[in-house]
């Protein structure tokens, strides 16, 4: 019966084009990029074989440490911020707004689909210090506080980037986690209510444990994106002031295209890829053991 579904020519015709494009434009370049790590130079200057010197450089380069630290710090803070803000939104939608939440959900989701560049430029204007105060500094002044040079200091620049990326994505995690809350069976909630649980007790002892799996998958999704942060940093601060807000992605981009060193750029990209895979593996392991305990 299954013979028509085993037709080799049909399979080749259906799967072939996608597989070909995907292999040529994504898989082959990935391996090729691995090959670059043992060369130095670029497409304009030509490549020279250098063995493992790129890896030696990676461990001695004074710029790599701060970039790794920034990447991890940013990823952790923004991921935690996005998931917690999203979870609070989801609770708000499910328990306090109930059926009326549709409009609020739709409004808060909007920044998710906005171009990062547009959002970054908007935040630049909101937090502007010179030549003119933006909305945030004007509000501070109105309350009698002095203006802050938000994007001119490493610490405040970090705060603005983190706030922007949480602002941008919390509506998304709100909807994602809200659908998770909807999946919790009503009779469990009813039973807890009959046992005398108030809203907060219900949330703490019933809702949070039951929605843990979707919280964990949200966190994995979020950290996979935040480790690769590029657009928002590039458009908002350009990595500055100085190089204080430069993640690995941006350092790799600068090294390769401004510095013309593809070999070393590919080595940094490899480091980034390994970090992404490691973090995902660690979270998977941790969540597997925590669900086993529970």
């Amino acid at each position: 019966m299954h013979t028509v579904l085993r037709d080799k020519r049909a399979i080749a015709l259906l799967l072939g084009p996608a597989l070909l494009v995907y292999t040529l434009v994504m898989l082959v370049p990935m391996l090729w990029s691995l090959g670059y790590t043992v060369f130095t130079g670029g497409v304009l200057s030509g490549f020279t074989f250098t063995g493992f010197s790129n890896f030696e450089r990676l461990f001695t380069d004074p710029a790599v440490g701060p970039a790794v630290v920034f990447t991890i710090k940013y990823a952790l803070i923004v991921t935690i911020g996005q998931v917690i803000a999203g979870y609070l939104l989801a609770l708000l939608y499910h328990f306090f707004l109930k059926r009326a939440s549709s409009l609020v959900r739709t409004l808060i989701f909007f920044p998710v689909v906005l171009p990062t560049v547009a959002v970054s430029l908007l935040f630049q204007k909101l937090f502007e210090f010179a030549p003119q105060n933006g909305l945030v500094n004007s509000a501070l002044n109105a309350f009698g506080m002095p203006s802050v040079d938000w994007l001119g200091n490493p610490e405040t620049a970090f705060i603005v980037i983190a706030m922007m990326d949480i602002w941008r994505a919390m509506g998304f995690y709100g909807v994602l986690l809200y659908t998770g809350l909807l999946d919790i069976p009503d009779d469990i909630v009813e039973a807890a209510r009959l046992d005398g649980a108030g809203t907060w007790g219900l949330i703490r002892h019933v809702i949070i444990p039951l929605s843990l799996p979707i919280v964990i998958s949200s966190a994995i999704f979020s950290i996979n994106g935040t480790l690769k942060v590029f657009d928002s940093v590039y458009a908002l601060t350009g990595g500055g002031p100085g190089t204080s807000t430069t993640p690995l992605t941006l350092y790799m981009y600068r090294t390769s295209f401004a510095g013309g060193d593809y070999g070393y750029g590919a080595t940094i990209a490899l480091l980034l890829t390994i970090m992404c895979l490691l973090v995902t593996a660690v979270i998977f392991r941790a969540s597997a053991s925590s669900t086993k305990e529970a």
Binding site: I11, Y36, L107, T116
Partner: protein, 297 residues
């Protein structure tokens, strides 16, 4: 007479009790209203401020408080100033995004069909192979692609963008289509082949129409990813005339100087309004699609 009076008084008392209860519930719900008001200010006001700014003159920017309303609500001069360059960027974005979207959807849907409906060895491995593409950072493929495009002489065209966009949209498209096809029993396609249709024919005239909704949702999700892309566009558009709307917008401030606010605000606004119009009509589908993409990805 008296009965009517009593009735009225009962009604009045009930009203006042209702009113008191209403006041009580209002105070009980006050924290909720405060939270909602804060959310509204934080999410809506920046965008309104942006829109108002796009209608202000340079003079108003420098002399009026930043939260002032524009003096002339029909001052579209900023839009005229911005449009001359933004229109070119928009055209580039359309020319790069739509062809890639179309190709990726067609071959991605076919691949999803093959991986889920057809029977052959190595299907799971193949699906996992496509998954790798979702995990790996884009930085990993940029350098070899740049070399190849440069050596093939494609650098002065939109081809690098079209090719890279098509490939980068494939993993999620294939993966999501495969999950959608999983819900359809294979018997549907076996039955159609009994009626004499080839499997390719069943794909075109049964699977595609059946999946119309799913394909549209994925198209929408991928549209936002590609339209909002910065990394790929930044890497491959070496020529100023090839800039997409995102790359162009980023260099916009440089072109008019940081100090010339109006046109910059208008340019950002144009970029926001295009997405807003799409979102106004399709918001439910967009939200569902993106959430599904995350869960499956």
């Amino acid at each position: 007479m008296t009965t009517i009076d009593r009735d009225v008084s009962i009604v009045a008392r009930r009203d006042s009790r209702n009113g008191a209860r209403r006041v009580a519930t209002f105070f009980k719900r006050l924290p909720l209203y405060v939270v909602l008001a804060v959310l509204l200010v934080v999410f809506v006001y920046p965008l309104v401020w942006l829109l108002l700014g796009s209608l202000k003159t340079q003079d108003e920017f420098l002399n009026n408080p930043t939260w002032a309303l524009p003096e002339n609500w029909f001052n579209f001069g900023n839009y005229e100033a911005a449009w001359s360059s933004v229109s070119g960027y928009l055209l580039n974005s359309v020319l790069a995004v739509f062809p890639s979207l179309l190709i990726a959807l067609l071959i991605g849907t076919a691949a999803g069909f093959a991986l889920e409906i057809m029977v052959f060895k190595g299907r799971r491995t193949m699906l996992l192979l496509f998954l790798v593409g979702i995990m790996i950072p884009g930085q990993m493929i940029l350098l070899p692609l740049f070399s190849v495009y440069f050596q093939a002489g494609l650098s002065q065209s939109l081809w690098p963008l079209i090719i890279t966009y098509t490939a980068s949209a494939l993993p999620l498209t294939v993966f999501m289509m495969a999950t959608y096809f999983r819900a359809i029993p294979r018997e549907v396609f076996e039955a159609s082949t009994l009626d004499g249709a080839s499997i390719i024919r069943s794909f075109v005239s049964i699977a595609l129409p059946m999946m119309r909704n799913a394909i549209f949702t994925i198209a929408l999700v991928q549209f936002f990813f590609l339209w909002n892309d910065l990394l790929i566009a930044l890497t491959f558009t070496t020529d100023e005339s090839l800039r997409t709307v995102q790359v162009g917008l980023l260099n916009f401030t440089g072109q008019f100087g940081v100090v010339d606010y109006g046109p910059t605000f208008a340019a950002i606004c144009i970029n926001v309004i295009i997405i807003l119009v799409l979102y106004l009509f399709l918001n439910q589908r967009v939200m569902r699609g993106l959430a599904a993409g995350a869960v499956k990805g």
